[in-house]
């Protein structure tokens, strides 16, 4: 099916590597990890003690009472929209499509602790606890009047949101969309993933033979998307095309991926069809790559199913090894990094120096950033609890 192009004209992110795109990109290309000892809450009672936590400046008066995830989202959204006139967003033809898995659970935990201690907490954090906080806060701050939708599909949330934005732009419901995700670290997800033995006590080692789990992270990743006509009319610089999206469900297990990667493969094929592209045209992959043994194994099988023998020569990286696993925001920051890979023709490395798991049959970029060809079609994949799979394809623009 042929669609009017949807293009990326702005990017913004907040991560443990920095609170700007430039800082995050420079660190990612240098292979620098943002994963360190966690200071957000005490970790003595947890099984691990590291994460990729974001250091934020003190909140402005307008941000008092905001959850961390809302602040991450706002920082990233302001950066992504820095190049567009405010009036272009204060309209019904602008929308927000956002993903968040934890919402403001960190603040929710503090609230519950107060209640359990029989204290009378402020009600202000209650407003932020629901998962739609980051998306609606952006909408309110920027004066958006079109559709505002929050998806919460665990680790695929932001990729699902990007797909929904693509639909809305293609259908003509909106001309401009702010899309991505934000999530914050909290004890529930930290302890929860640890209870599944899914966290590596060391910084995560995706696709390595020694891989032993993920590293939790937090932050936000946001794209400014426009119809090509809107972008051209205002003379915007096009960074890339959001070419396609695909979604599927394993219907297999609440927390483990289908071992054969069939659900992820179906989502990739759907995205290729949506983009009007062939598997042979994909030039690199920003993989889900959590570093858990099961995920990386299933994902490698999905790559083999879609790309065949070429999966062993297709450059692939896991930026989660650098910024941590941002859960509902993972697709957002990975879409930002995939866009930058297209702009700079450079694929950041997967952190670590242990041997790659040869049994996976993948060309994992390690050591230093890998140069990419002039024209690229980048695939960004995410898999999630509930058997959820969501992928997006970003393409070089002309």
């Amino acid at each position: 099916m042929s669609h009017a192009p949807v293009v990326v004209t702005g990017v913004g992110c907040t991560s443990a590597l920095g609170t700007t795109v430039d800082a995050t990109w420079a660190a990612a290309c240098a292979g620098r990890r943002g994963i360190a000892e966690l200071r957000l809450f005490p970790t003595a009672s947890h099984r691990t003690s590291i994460a990729a936590s974001v250091e934020l400046a003190e909140p402005t008066p307008a941000e008092r009472g905001w959850a961390r995830a809302e602040r991450f989202a706002m920082v990233a959204a302001r950066e992504a929209t820095a190049g567009i006139a405010a009036n272009a967003l204060r309209t019904r033809r602008a929308g927000i499509f956002f993903g968040s898995s934890t919402g403001a659970l960190f603040e929710g935990e503090r609230l519950l602790a107060e209640l359990l201690a029989r204290r009378q907490p402020s009600v202000r954090p209650i407003a932020a606890i629901q998962n739609d906080g980051p998306g609606t806060s952006i909408a309110r701050a920027l004066g958006v009047r079109g559709p505002v939708v929050t998806f919460s599909t665990a680790c695929t949330s932001a990729n699902v949101a990007l797909g929904a934005a693509l639909d809305a732009l293609r259908s003509g419901e909106v001309e401009v969309a702010i899309a991505g995700g934000a999530d914050e670290l909290c004890e529930i997800t930290y302890a929860g993933f640890n209870s599944l033995r899914a966290c590596d006590p060391q910084p995560s080692r995706p696709f390595r033979a020694s891989r032993a789990g993920l590293s939790m992270g937090e932050g936000a990743g946001v794209l400014l998307l426009e119809t090509l006509a809107h972008a051209e009319a205002r003379g915007a610089r096009v960074l890339a095309e959001l070419a396609g999206a695909g979604r599927s469900c394993d219907a297999h297990h609440v927390s483990a991926p289908a071992p054969d990667g069939s659900g992820a493969a179906a989502a990739i094929r759907q995205a290729l069809g949506d983009a009007g592209a062939w598997a042979e045209q994909v030039t690199f992959v920003n993989a889900h790559g959590t570093g858990t043994p099961h995920n990386d194994d299933a994902e490698s099988k999905a790559m083999a199913a879609v790309f065949g023998a070429r999966s062993a020569q297709l450059p692939l990286t896991s930026t989660k090894s650098l910024v941590g696993h941002l859960l509902g925001a993972a697709g957002g920051i990975e879409a930002v990094l995939t866009t930058l890979s297209i702009v700079h023709r450079l694929l950041p490395p997967t952190a670590g120096d242990e041997p790659i798991d040869a049994a996976l049959g993948l060309d994992v970029v390690t050591g230093s950033a890998r140069a990419l060809p002039e024209h690229n079609l980048g695939l960004s994949t995410n898999l999630a609890f509930g058997g959820n799979n969501a992928v997006v394809l970003l393409r070089s623009w002309r």
Binding site: N131, A154, L196, G386
Partner: protein
């Protein structure tokens, strides 16, 4: 814009009124909610808090869910799976195992019970005490994932978190999955559970009606309105392409009409906005000629005065106040998708009583609730959410 006409061919619903559309019909005909006293033993509630909840405690779901399966799920997942199975039975669909079956659910509050239990484990006993069982079913999309696993639905699996607007956004998203040809069948709807902690938080935020000399009740559009009745339950609709439904001889309950999504940036983080003119303009221009033929409004008004004032102003500005207006949340409580089920019932034709708590229409709002036997031709469903999101959907006679 959907390329294929989409119809509703089945419904499953459960709530404080019981299980199934006949139970809802009985409740709506009586005009009396089924509410019971909320458990305040945990100490989360303040002394003069709301005391009633429209809950599903003790409901027998064994016709749709085995006790063994139920033990592995949160209440939220149980509600969703039971309502989905009920909907498929109603649609006379025995087997929907396919990558062409999608699931789209909205939840405003998510699995609050499991989340609270997990948080208490961590706060009281440390991170290592966290239960993996609780964790995997405490993400917002766990219910949709459980539905997919139960039914073998391998298409898109989406969960939206957009407070009171969620059910309509989910219906619109589900119709889009089918209408764009990405799915042949979509189970779309809403699910929520109402545990004492969430009830207490809503009460602390002054969202709930409290005891008064007139009793404790939700009174939408009534001069005595002072808050909502917190509810829980699930409503799931089976959506199919009209051509496919007719080809298999399915009973068509409704045709899904156009939807409109908008945002009111004058809304506070937890409150309702004031821009009725802007919302009315969005609704009017979004639905164009469709709006003039609306003969029934299933309103999302809940008894929260700021919501009802905004809702009434939008209805008046668009002329929708002249239709037969219903406010089913007075009976079903807020959350659980009762408005979706009520709209299907209205299209089928039923007896509707003016809720017994709503006998004194607020003259300042100018909305008089309809009562008596009524069969709708075209229903406008409204969903204005705290925080600023707005959604409207039209359902037509087939």
């Amino acid at each position: 814009m959907n390329a294929r006409a989409v119809v509703v061919t089945g419904i499953g619903c459960l709530g404080p009124y019981g299980a199934g559309l006949p139970a809802l019909a009985t409740a709506l005909a009586s005009g009396t909610p089924t509410a019971r006293e909320v458990d305040r033993s945990a100490g989360y509630h303040r002394r003069h808090s709301a005391q009633l909840v429209a809950g599903c405690a003790g409901m027998d779901l064994s016709a749709w869910l085995s006790p063994q399966a139920a033990r592995r799920m949160s209440d939220l997942s149980q509600f969703a799976v039971a309502a989905s199975r009920m909907a498929l039975q109603d649609a006379d669909l025995a087997d929907v195992r396919s990558d062409r079956t999608a699931v789209v659910l909205a939840t405003a509050l998510g699995p609050g019970g499991f989340t609270e239990q997990l948080a208490r484990q961590i706060l009281e006993k440390g991170g290592k005490a966290a239960s993996p069982f609780l964790f995997t079913d405490c993400v917002a999309n766990a219910a949709a994932g459980q539905v997919a696993i139960d039914l073998g639905a391998r298409g898109a699996n989406l969960t939206l978190c957009q407070r009171e607007a969620g059910p309509l956004l989910a219906l619109a998203q589900g119709a889009e999955e089918v209408g764009r040809g990405r799915a042949d069948i979509c189970l779309a709807g809403a699910v929520d559970e109402m545990k004492p902690l969430v009830h207490a938080l809503l009460d602390r935020f002054r969202a709930l009606a409290r005891p008064t000399p007139h009793g404790e009740a939700a009174r939408p559009f009534d001069r005595r309105a002072a808050g909502a009745l917190a509810g829980e339950g699930a409503t799931v609709l089976v959506l199919e392409a009209e051509t496919a439904a007719r080809a298999r001889g399915a009973t068509i309950l409704a045709r899904v009409g156009p939807s409109v999504r908008a945002f009111d940036p004058t809304a506070g983080r937890a409150g309702f906005g004031r821009d009725a003119a802007g919302l009315a303009e969005a609704l009017g221009s979004g639905l164009r000629g469709t709006l003039a033929e609306v003969d029934t409004v299933v309103s999302g008004a809940s008894g929260v005065r700021t919501l009802d004032r905004l809702e009434a102003a939008v209805l008046r500005a668009t002329g929708s106040d002249r239709a037969f207006v219903m406010a089913p949340k007075a009976i079903t409580g807020e959350f659980g998708g009762g408005t979706l089920a009520t709209a299907i019932l209205a299209l089928r034709g039923a007896d509707f009583a003016v809720p017994v708590a709503c006998t004194q229409p607020d003259p300042a709002l100018g909305i008089t609730l309809g009562g008596g036997t009524h069969r709708a031709g075209r229903v406008l469903l409204t969903g204005l959410a705290a925080g600023g999101v707005a959604a409207w959907t039209v359902l037509d006679q087939p």
